[in-house]
Structure formats: C-alpha cells, structure tokens
C-alpha cells in the first residue's frame, strides 16, 4: 500500500470574468487527470514548466487546496471523506511543504524559534515546557546553532533560512516533505549544502520526498523516480535511470536537451529547441496537448489523446503518453552522445 496515492485528480478554476478580460472564458485546467503515487522512503522528482500544474498538485497534496475531482488516499484512507479535524490531524502532520523563496516563507515579525514551534503548539505535540528544547534539537538537526532561535529572519542568509524552513516542516514529524523548488533561489555554493541536508534527513528519518524543480541535473541527483508534467497531465514517469537514459516522451527530451551545458570536444548533442512558449492551461489544444510544439508529431497526434502507457521494450513502471514512445525511446535526439575520438597528433607521434 502506497504512502500517498492520487487517482484521477483534477483541479479546475473558473476563469474570472472582468470587464477587461479577453480571450477564452472558461476553465483553467490546472491539473487534468493525474495519477500519482509516493512510496515510503522514496524521492519522487516532479518536473515541468510554468502552467504544467506541478505547484497546484503540490498544494493539493499538502491540503492547501481541495481537488475538483478525483481521490487522494493516504495509507489507503480516502482523505476527502474525512472531517475537517481528521484531515487537519492527518494531512497537516504527515505532509509538509518546503517553499521556494526562503525570505518570504517565514513571518518577518516572529523569531525563527517561534516559527519553528508553531507546528508543535498547533497540534499540541509537547507540553509548553518542552517546546524550547525541541526547537533547539531541530535547529541542530538542520545544521544551525540552537542559540539562534530567538533571532529574526532578516538576520539570516538565504541558505540558513531554507534550513529553518525545513526545521519548521520537520517539527510536526511528517512522513512526506514536498519541496517546491527548494534551492532555486539559493546561491550555487549553498545549494549543495541544502541538498545534502535533505538527503541526510531522508536517511535518518525515513522521509519520503516530492522534489519539484526545473533544474533537471538537481532532480536527477535527488530522485528515485521522475514524473514529467505538461499542461496539467503526466506525460512521462518511471525510474530515474529509465527516464533520463531511455527518455520516451519528446517533451522530456526537450527539457533534457535544454539544460545549458558545455560539451566536451568528443561530445555531440542534437538539441531540441521548442518553438513558441509553454501554453496557457485555459485552452489546451485537441489531441495530445504537446503536439503543437512537438518535433516528432504526426497526424494522429492532433486528434487522439495518447494514454499513459508502458513504454514498449522498457520496464513496466516506465510510462509515457506518446503515440511514438517506442521510437522516441530509442533515438538519440536531445541526448548527449560521445563519439569515439581519433588519436590526437601527439599520441600518434609516440
């Protein structure tokens, strides 16, 4: 039984009609039929660009929003069938979010100790006399000095604030951490520190992590499984090695090839550069949502919506929603290839 299970989850917003709105009036299909599971102790990487619905999905998982449709199950129990207080106890203690902007995610008028303690006091996890000691413990666990609990957020750097955000999330002893771009706003030299911290905590506390990021190198490092989203739908999912090594969806290929990198002299890359912009989820195109920008699209893609099926010739957990998955997974488009180099002149002379 999975720790967390999302089945056919949808989240639609009615588009607001104002005097000045143009274009389609209708629904914003932020999340459009997503099946998603997280097992105990695993890290699932969630990638996609603006408008793909990953942030909305994260909020649904954390209980900050309710889905318009579909079921959310925690350890098999249907969350939507619970009362408000049951949900509060379950969701808000089992799942916690780590936010992107470390400066905005803490109340500037409260000390960091008070922010960390908030979860403990809300759920009455400890008697008041023991709270301070626990806050100190948490600060130490994330690598900070427990004596600084009385300080205010503006006295810390971005990386330290992110650690404090993690400490606050850990205070309620969750089983799942949803990290929404946790290192994007940090300096590079600090990113590795926070990533290592997350991995260490995962090992020590047996956490599961949903890691949302747009930096695919980082996602690959952190994740066991990867899920790619586009326009509210899952377009590819599988073990990290499968999705990165035998990518079966053209969008994932585009994302991978978009990673800016320096090629070594013996490396070649046929980059996939998409035309146009990530589309708005208000008016998704018919057929496959990606076909308008896809380099491999055929006629069928404009009319038939592909299902998220197992990739032919791959492991059963590797799935992609593409009519041409079998060919895509075998091609080298968008992937770095090493060509064999001929011996250099100096070597030839010896």
């Amino acid at each position: 039984m999975s720790l967390l299970e999302l089945e056919s989850v949808r989240r639609f917003y009615k588009q607001k009609h104002t005097m000045f709105s143009r274009g389609a009036h209708g629904q914003v299909r932020a999340v459009d039929g997503v099946d998603f599971t997280v097992e105990e102790g695993e890290t699932v990487g969630l990638v996609g660009e603006s408008g793909c619905g990953k942030s909305t999905l994260a909020r649904i998982i954390c209980g900050l929003e309710a889905p318009s449709d579909g079921t959310v199950r925690w350890n098999g129990a249907d969350v939507s069938a619970m009362s408000h207080s049951e949900r509060k106890t379950l969701l808000h203690r089992q799942v916690q979010m780590v936010f992107q902007d470390p400066h905005a995610s803490l109340d500037p008028r409260r000390s960091v100790g008070q922010s960390i303690a908030e979860g403990i006091t809300t759920h009455r996890l400890l008697p008041a006399s023991k709270v301070e000691a626990r806050v100190g413990e948490l600060l130490t666990q994330v690598g900070l000095n427990p004596d600084h609990a009385h300080r205010y957020p503006h006295e810390f750097s971005g990386g330290q604030l992110q650690r404090i955000g993690i400490a606050r999330a850990l205070a309620v002893e969750p089983k799942l951490l949803v990290c929404d771009e946790p290192v994007s706003a940090l300096d590079i030299s600090v990113r590795a520190q926070v990533l290592n911290l997350l991995n260490r905590l995962k090992r020590e506390l047996g956490l599961s992590i949903i890691f949302i990021a747009h930096d695919l190198d980082v996602v690959q490092h952190m994740s066991d499984r990867i899920v790619t989203m586009y326009l509210g739908k899952v377009v590819e999912q599988g073990e990290c090695d499968d999705v990165y090594g035998a990518t079966a969806h053209p969008y994932t290929r585009a994302l991978l090839s978009a990673i800016p990198r320096k090629l070594a002299p013996n490396e070649r890359l046929e980059r996939v550069v998409l035309e146009g912009d990530p589309p708005s989820p208000i008016d998704p195109p018919p057929g496959c949502p990606f076909h308008t920008r896809c380099y491999a699209a055929i006629e069928r893609c404009a009319t038939d919506v592909p299902a998220l099926d197992a990739v032919p010739g791959g492991r059963p957990e590797h799935r992609a929603s593409c009519h041409l998955a079998a060919q895509i997974t075998l091609s080298r488009v968008g992937m770095v290839s090493t060509i064999s180099s001929s011996p250099s002149p100096s070597e030839r002379n010896t």
Binding site: R93, P108, S115, H123, R151, A185
Partner: protein, 296 residues
C-alpha cells in the same frame, strides 16, 4: 534568483525585532517638537491644574474682553472668564474627540478590514458594500443633519458621528493591506501546518498588515479635532457650558468679537492648528519609521 548585492548592502543586518526604524525617529527635530506638543497638550487635558489654578467658570461679566493683566496672562473672554484657563480646560474636550474617534475607528477598521480582506467571498461583499455606501454619502451635510437631530450633544455624540463616516476609508486601507499579506508564503506555510484561520489572522496577518492603519489613525486624530471645531462654528457641535477650542473659536467669530479682541480667535486656533500639525508629523514619521523598505 540570488539576493542582489545592493539589497544585501542596504539591509544592514540588525539584531532583534524588525522595528529598528523606530530608533531613527528621535533623530528628527520635527518629530521631537511634535512629540513635545502632544505631550504638553495631553498633560493639559489630564491635569489642568498643572497649568492654571483659576476656575474657568469663575466669570465676571464686568471683565469681559479685558486684555492680559497680572495673574491672567491671556486676559478674559467675552463672558469675563479667564481665557487661559478656558484654553487649558478646552484641551481635554478637543483631545477626547480626536483620540476617541481615532481609536474607535481604528478598532472597527481593523476588524472589518481583516475579515473582508482575509476571508473574501460573502463577508467581503457585505463589508465592502456597506463601506461603499458610507463613502458615497456626502459627509459634511450628512453629519450636520444628524447632529442637528440631537437636543443635547456630548463628546460622545460628536465621536459617534465622526466614527460613522470615517471607518469606511480606513477599513479599505486595512483590507488591501491584508489582501497583500494573505498570499505571502509564510501564510501558506502556517495553513500547511494546520493553523486555524483565526489564529493565522491574529498572529500572522494582522501584525504584518496593520502598519498603514496605524499611520492613518494618527493622522486622523487631528482631523477629528478640526471637525469638532467646525461643528461648533456651525452651531451643531458642543454647547456651553462645555469647553472646547471649537466653542471658543465659535464664540470669537460671533458678533465680530474677534475684531475687537483678536486674541480671542487667535489662541484657540493656534492650539488647534499646532496640535493637528503635531499629529500629522507624528503620523508621517511613524510611516517612515515603520516602512520595511527602509530597513530591508
């Protein structure tokens, strides 16, 4: 996106609560003078005997409009009462009107603005609609009409009318401030921790959203005092035997009294003007001191 160098430099990382801007208040001479005026006027209001021993009602008509003489630094008013004593006792009423109006308006605006801004939906619709109705009423005429209905008018009558019309604008400030804060990530984090909405409002939203409201409130004290004076001049304010600067100005403006003894008009006007100005300066200085941009 990394912290930009410029903001790192300007932030001057200070220890302690993010209120260090308040210390800079004392450096401005304007603020010091304004604070002094307010302190003096408040003392006048609370402890009139510190300033004068003469009973303001000890009047001798035969001394009407006599100029300053020994023991009576400002002479006598139209009824022969000691002028300075009247000014001192008048301070209390004027200040009461200003401060009570501002305080009550503050509380109403705080509650209504927070509810409307945070919960949105029907609550917001009702509160906003009500405030729009109030804002649409012409204040001057309406307050005159209402005041005229009362046979006897006390300080509280005036306060009631002023609060009735002033909470709406202040509420809108608070509401928009709350709406801005509501979407910040630390609020989402508190929701994610399972903190209930009332507690979030109390501990996170209001402390961070209340600054503009505080500033507006200090500014409105002076406005309240001036309004009281205006009502008195128009004859719908407080009546004798109450004291207030407004009444004194009103009396002085009748029958050309001020032409004969200009001081009768000058002093209450001066007191009123200075106190109003002092509160304006206070409000402006507070706004600059509490402005987070100056600190971060």
């Amino acid at each position: 996106m990394s912290e930009s160098t410029t903001s790192l430099i300007i932030s001057h990382r200070r220890r302690g609560r993010p209120r260090s801007g308040l210390r800079s208040l004392w450096k401005s001479p304007f603020f010091d003078i304004a604070a002094l005026i307010i302190i003096v006027v408040t003392l006048m209001a609370l402890f009139p005997t510190l300033f004068t021993n003469i009973d303001p009602r000890d009047c001798d008509l035969s001394m009407s409009r006599v100029g300053p003489e020994a023991g009576h630094p400002m002479g006598f008013d139209i009824q022969g009462c000691d002028y300075w004593s009247n000014i001192v006792h008048g301070a209390r009423t004027s200040l009461e009107v200003g401060v009570y109006t501002a305080a009550i308006s503050f509380v109403i605006a705080l509650i209504a603005g927070s509810l409307a801004g945070y919960f949105g939906g029907v609550t917001d619709s009702i509160i906003s609609w009500t405030s729009n109705v109030i804002l649409g009423i012409p204040v001057g005429i309406a307050s005159l009409v209402i005041l005229y209905q009362f046979r006897s008018r006390t300080v509280w009558t005036i306060v009631f009318v002023l609060v009735l019309f002033s909470w709406a604008a202040t509420m809108r400030y608070m509401r928009s401030s709350v709406m801005q804060v509501r979407n910040l990530e630390y609020i989402q984090a508190a929701r994610g921790l399972g903190v209930g909405p009332w507690r979030i409002l109390r501990s996170h939203v209001i402390p961070n959203a209340v600054t503009p409201l505080i500033v507006m409130t200090t500014l409105s004290v002076g406005a309240g005092m001036a309004a009281e004076a205006g009502f008195s001049i128009l004859g719908v304010g407080l009546k004798l035997p109450a004291f207030s600067w407004g009444i004194q100005i009103a009396l002085a403006s009748q029958d050309g009294n001020w032409q004969i003894a200009p001081l009768l008009m000058f002093f209450p006007t001066l007191m009123l003007g200075l106190t109003t100005l002092a509160f304006v300066v206070l409000g402006e200085s507070l706004r600059d001191a509490l402005d987070p941009k100056a600190r971060r």
